[in-house]
């Protein structure tokens, strides 16, 4: 799975928590796990700001910030990743 796919997966988990699909209970631990999966990818180390935004999203999750804030930070990471790829 590419870095973009992993970040999109984390965003989908956060959005599902925010939207309350009514078919599952998503815990902050699951959100944190999805973000950690993104941080483990070596691909993100070479692109500026991606690791920073993912770290901020992880901190926001553990601090109990609203899901929309976490989602916004993950979108920033996705944007930085795509920008990095287009520059390379």
């Amino acid at each position: 799975m590419s870095a973009a796919e992993r970040i999109r997966k984390a965003i989908a988990v956060v959005n599902a928590a925010a939207d309350g699909a009514g078919d599952e209970e998503i815990t902050p631990t699951e959100i944190a796990e999805a973000i950690r999966d993104c941080l483990e990818l070596p691909e993100i180390g070479s692109i500026p700001n991606v690791r920073k935004y993912l770290g901020e999203a992880l901190d926001a999750t553990s601090d109990g910030m609203p899901a929309d804030f976490v989602a916004m930070t993950l979108y920033a990471a996705l944007g930085a990743l795509q920008e990095g790829h287009s520059l390379n």
Partner: protein, 213 residues
């Protein structure tokens, strides 16, 4: 508010019959299924009047809704997007309709940009909202149309499940779409819906309701 009742053998036929009577397109209406039987479907189609929506009072949350509306309008202006933002009347949570020309980029691939816009908007307006309250952002009624489409898919799947007795797994959907399906089928005594898989590949399964349930 204009409305019409439509009847047909299928949901599509019933909706089309009502649309012909009203002289409207699907984009401008809300559809409510009144009755669904194997041989006939009855729907009530209500025209959404953007002019009335803009002029009508938005109820007790008017002040709050107006604040949120102007914040989103300001954000779009800073983004260089020429669009108007209106508060959808009679909705809870507050729903903001963004309309204008060539707003496809604001919706993005599978609604991704729209979803990001909604997240940013909620972070911006959070201090004006109550605890746990959220704002829904819709662009050119994309979200509303998606909800309508997945409800139709759910009803079709339910009909097929009733005929064959076999469960059907639908395509992967976003959380709000899965929610629309669960809500569409929750009152049906013959079928049940549940979700399987992991995001973003999570899918709804429509199956026969067991007698013991």
């Amino acid at each position: 508010m204009r409305s019409a009742e439509g009847r047909g053998r299928t949901l599509d036929e019933a909706v089309d019959a009502a649309l012909i009577e009203l002289g409207e397109t699907r984009r401008n209406v809300d559809v409510k299924v009144v009755r669904e039987a194997p041989d006939e479907t009855v729907v009530e189609v209500v025209v959404i009047d953007p002019a009335a929506a803009a002029g009508a009072p938005a109820g007790p949350a008017n002040g709050k809704a107006e604040t949120v509306r102007s914040l989103l309008e300001g954000l779009l202006r800073h983004m260089g997007v020429r669009a108007t933002v209106q508060v959808r009347v009679g909705t809870d949570p507050i729903t903001l309709d963004v309309s204008g020309r060539d707003l496809g980029a604001l919706i993005g691939w599978r609604g991704e940009t729209l979803r990001a816009l909604q997240s940013v908007t909620n972070v911006m307006v959070g201090k004006h909202l109550d605890e746990g309250e959220r704002v829904i952002v819709d662009v050119e009624r994309y979200r509303q149309r998606r909800e309508h489409t997945v409800r139709e898919i759910a009803l079709r799947a339910a009909r097929q499940v009733k005929m064959t007795g076999d469960a059907i797994t639908l395509d992967a959907m976003q959380a709000f779409e899965r929610r629309a399906i669960h809500l569409a089928l929750e009152g049906d005594p013959d079928v049940t819906s549940s979700s399987i898989g992991e995001e973003p590949e999570r899918r709804v399964v429509v199956g026969p309701r067991k007698p013991a349930e």
